[in-house]
């Protein structure tokens, strides 16, 4: 059951990610990204992180991606135009990327033998415990992030405001 669910949502993730790459229209990429996020949220649920899962849905899918969609609609971004950029990306980036990926996989396979199996809900992260940690152990970081968000808001307002106003 657990493996089936994981494989299902993992397949969704992979599909969405790949679709994000292959789609020419920005809106489709955005939608596939939403799919990825949704299925990630469900995978979080499998891992017992229900609060994170819900927050993932609310913040990522519900707020951030809506913002993206909004901007896409605002700028009416259609299909991306084909322009020859630099080949550096293709020449160095992707091979390096795959090299890194291979190394990562290799490392993972290296450590396969003592790999722990995670039963469903092995760790149960309910909202109250998470909140408790957030407000005791990580209080400072929490406040700092609040400042960060405040600054981000102001920056966004200043940047996006029309200059003449």
């Amino acid at each position: 059951m657990h493996q089936f669910l994981f494989l299902l949502f993992g397949a969704f993730c992979v599909g969405g990610a790949i679709n994000l790459l292959v789609q020419k229209k920005t809106i489709n990429s955005a939608l596939s990204l939403i799919v990825v996020m949704g299925s990630l949220a469900l995978i979080y649920l499998l891992l017992g992180a229900e609060f994170v899962a819900v927050v993932q849905v609310i913040i990522y899918a519900g707020a951030i991606m809506v913002l993206y969609i909004f901007v896409i609609m605002l700028l009416n971004a259609g299909a991306e135009e084909e322009s020859k950029g630099s080949n550096v990306a293709k020449i160095f980036g992707i091979p390096g990327l795959f090299a890194g990926g291979m190394i990562g996989i290799w490392v993972l396979l290296q450590h396969r033998p003592e790999d722990k199996l995670i039963p469903i809900g092995a760790l149960y992260g309910p909202a109250d415990q998470v909140g408790m940690m957030l407000f005791t152990k990580y209080l400072l970081a929490f406040e700092v992030t609040s400042i960060l968000v405040l600054i981000a808001i102001m920056g966004a307002v200043v940047l996006a405001r029309r200059s003449n106003s």
Binding site: I27, E50, V66, L67, M73
Partner: protein
């Protein structure tokens, strides 16, 4: 209970709830037309069936039989996806709502709530711990239906409508969520049934200990305002302001797809009403009426719940019949400059009192 029975019970509950919900939606339309008609001193639907009671059926048939045309130059798949998305999101969140307490049928005892089960140890009804958050999440996902619809149908009216809709809904979600925080603080749980349980009991035997009576009336007001905006109802129905943008985001939709948007809107109304009643009016709980016969006593929670829902639906319609439409900047200013600070203040004050009580 075994997994099989769990599955069966779940399916049955889903089926019943969906049926009821759709019926309610259909008859909300009828009710609206009727009431508004009366408010405007006309009859409203009265031909089909007694009091026009079969009107929704007729409408449904009409939607089904109409030609389902898809305009050219639309983003085909998204254009098709959008209404379904909207409707699904609207219908899903009802699954979290605790409609009633535990009932015992055929030796199986289960709460009247799709996602609810009976806790084997305590025998109490329990459901998803983060139910309310899931509801909020699904509501926030509901934006996509409208936004995509407006954008995909490649018409400026639709685009403007969906722009308005998405901006408005995202903005008001903030106030909506914040208005609920007070209640969550007082009930110290995120599960809806838990919240309902937190509101059981009465003062002097008849005044129910609902949160609205326990100092959350400001939050209730904020919630109602935000909910009106969330569901794009008058006075916040800017996205479909027929006088400015023909029909807003569903200008280009017709037949069943239009019907889906329609149903989505009303389903949203129902959902919002459910959440409101659960959060502020104690859900299915209510002042005990001991004088009633036991047979009715058994159904009392459902009666309470449905009456509250009816009250909210009536409120919707009433306000629609009463208030004019906002201007868009007024809408945004109201949301950000009035509701949002008010909700924050409410949160702070509530937290203060809760802290004192603790």
């Amino acid at each position: 209970m075994s997994a099989l029975t769990f599955l069966i019970v779940a399916v049955i509950k889903i089926a019943i709830t969906l049926g009821v919900l759709l019926t309610v939606v259909a008859y909300t339309v009828w009710l609206e037309r009727k009431l508004v008609g009366r408010m405007q001193n006309r009859w409203g639907p009265s031909r089909v069936g007694p009091f026009g009671l079969l009107q929704p059926l007729a409408d449904g048939i009409k939607f089904l039989l109409k030609e389902d045309l898809t305009p050219p130059y639309v983003e085909k798949n998204i254009y098709l996806l959008a209404p379904g998305l909207a409707l699904i999101m609207a219908l899903t969140s009802i699954a979290m709502v605790p409609i009633g307490p535990i009932i015992h049928l055929f030796g199986i005892s289960t709460p009247v709530q799709i996602t609810g089960v009976v806790d084997a140890t305590t025998g109490q009804a329990s459901d998803i711990n983060v139910g309310i958050l899931i509801v909020l999440g699904i509501t926030s996902l509901g934006v996509y239906g409208i936004a995509l619809a407006g954008w995909s149908s490649n018409s400026k009216y639709s685009l403007l409508g969906s722009l308005r809709a998405s901006a408005q809904m995202v903005s008001y979600e903030v106030s909506l969520g914040l208005s609920l925080v007070g209640v969550l603080l007082m009930s110290s749980t995120l599960s809806l049934s838990g919240i309902v349980h937190a509101q059981l009991g009465t003062w002097f035997g008849f005044v129910p200990q609902w949160f609205i009576f326990r100092g959350q009336f400001v939050a209730f007001f904020i919630y109602m305002m935000a909910a009106f905006a969330e569901t794009n109802r008058i006075p916040f129905d800017l996205p479909e302001a027929e006088t400015e943008l023909v029909a807003g985001y569903h200008t280009e939709y017709s037949a069943m797809k239009f019907a889906m948007f329609f149903m989505a809107e009303y389903a949203n109304m129902v959902t919002v009403a459910c959440i409101a009643s659960v959060m502020f009016l104690g859900g299915w709980s209510g002042p005990p009426l001991h004088f009633l016969p036991a047979a009715i006593q058994a159904f009392l929670p459902l009666i309470w719940f449905s009456s509250k829902i009816f009250f909210f639906l009536f409120l919707y319609i009433w306000i629609r019949g009463t208030l004019p439409r906002f201007r868009y900047d007024q809408l945004m200013a109201f949301g950000w400059k009035f509701l949002f600070p008010l909700a924050l203040a409410n949160v702070v004050v509530t937290a203060f009192f809760v802290a004192i009580r603790a």
